[in-house]
Amino acid sequence: MIDKQVSSIPEAIADISDGATVMIGGFGASGSPIELIHALIDQGTRDLTVINNNTGNGEVGLAALIGNGQVRKMICSFPKSSQSKVFPELYSAGKIELELVPQGTLAERIRAAGAGIPAFYTPTTVGTVLAEGKESREFDGRRYVMEPWLQADFALIKSEVADRHGNLLYNKTARNFSPIMAMAATTTIVQSKRLVAPGEINPEHVVTPGIFVDRIVEVAQPVHEDTLIGQGRAYP
């Protein structure tokens, strides 16, 4: 029988090892799988390459993971934040690498990895410094740059509802990068607010089909990054 549920968060992430590439869902605070990230801090895994649109906020979640020195390299579109000094300080000190990718290219590279497309062409960055070193060519008289897929060993995802097959629903704009990251990672680990029986999610409404999910752990009352920041909290 298919049952992707695991009973604890530490068990869900136990095989994320030093040097892994990890996609983390969320755009800003919305959709960030805080409990999974904090477990990764507890586990002490190091030398990570992390893919996320941003670099976290405050001193919790992704910012705390970075602040704890566990991240070797960030791949993101917008590493600055008004609410976090963690990444900027490490970056300015030369202690963390950055691969800057425009947001739409980041999304498309992730989707391409999930879809078995090793490279594609996009007009984004043409005529800018971010196109330097990239292969480019014309189609129908317009210039485009070639971009490669972006794969990962793991994806950490937060969902609203899940079943044992791994079918997922999200809450509003918390959806953001999570469905495509679930497609692109070798192993996709989900923390879900609710677990329901197969069939309780209408097949017409499924956002992430179960085939893209490997493990689900129930986190019935997830803390929200914005709430933690509002309380001035730091992790650990």
């Binding site: 029988m1 298919i2 989707r111 990895a113 999930g114 879809a115 078995g116 497309i117 079943d163 044992r164 097959h165 079918n167 497609m183 029986a197 197969p198 069939g199 999610i201 097949p203 017409e204 499924v206 089909p209 179960g210 085939i211 893209f212």
Partner: protein, 215 residues
């Protein structure tokens, strides 16, 4: 004359080699029978490329929905835990390597794993490929179920395909009425004989050298 396995027995034998929890895409014909022979204690999830994961058995007349069909355009049902999606997402599952096993019928399969199952290559034939080339390139394991010989007594397991390829070097196992054969770097290798079938007979009816089972 040999007896060997029936179509149902071929499907049942192939089903034995599919792991619990596998995502499976079944081609039209004998492969479809696999769904009737899921081994005790296992659960397979069926993908159909027109946009359904979690395909269930054919509907009763009451259940039938004209908008719920499989890639072979037969009416089906959706199992608990199913999902619908559009065609680009469906082929992302295939091309992206998310489907574990695809079981296909074939016209020819070669000792190097080449498969030819989309066109005879006859002049004037209308070419029609569907999703076959996506499946053989994208799915993790490609299994073939086929009669060992054509109706005219010619081998379907051959040294090199004479018909246009669907994909090169993609097939890993072959289930015929006579035997289970694996494709290895050294060519065909027998895995198992059907009851009442001898290795000699299989060797004789195979259009390429075939190795005895690995010890």
């Amino acid at each position: 004359m040999s007896i060997g396995w029936t179509r149902e027995q071929m499907a049942a034998r192939a089903a034995q080699d599919i792991a619990d929890g596998a995502y499976v895409n079944l081609g039209i014909g004998i492969p479809e029978l696999i769904a009737q022979f899921v081994p005790e204690g296992r659960e397979f999830v069926y993908h159909t490329e027109n946009g359904l994961l979690g395909m269930g058995p054919p509907p009763s007349e009451d259940e039938k929905d004209l908008d719920l069909m499989n890639a072979g355009k037969k009416y089906v049902t959706a199992a608990a835990g199913a999902s619908y999606f559009h065609h680009a997402d469906s082929f992302s599952m295939i091309r992206g390597g998310h489907i574990d096993v695809c079981v296909l019928g074939t016209m020819q399969v070669a000792e190097n794993g080449d498969i030819a199952n989309w066109s005879t290559g006859a002049p004037g034939a209308i070419p029609a490929v569907g999703g076959a080339m996506d499946l053989v390139q994208g799915v993790k394991q490609i299994y073939v179920i086929t009669q060992h010989e054509t109706k005219h007594g010619e081998p379907k397991l051959v040294e090199r395909c004479s018909m246009p390829l669907t994909g090169p070097g993609v097939v890993s196992r072959i289930y015929t009425d006579l035997a289970v054969v694996e494709v290895t770097p050294d060519g065909f290798r027998l895995v198992e004989l059907a009851p009442g079938i001898s290795f000699d007979e299989v060797e004789q009816k195979t259009g390429a050298p075939i190795l005895p089972p690995a010890r």
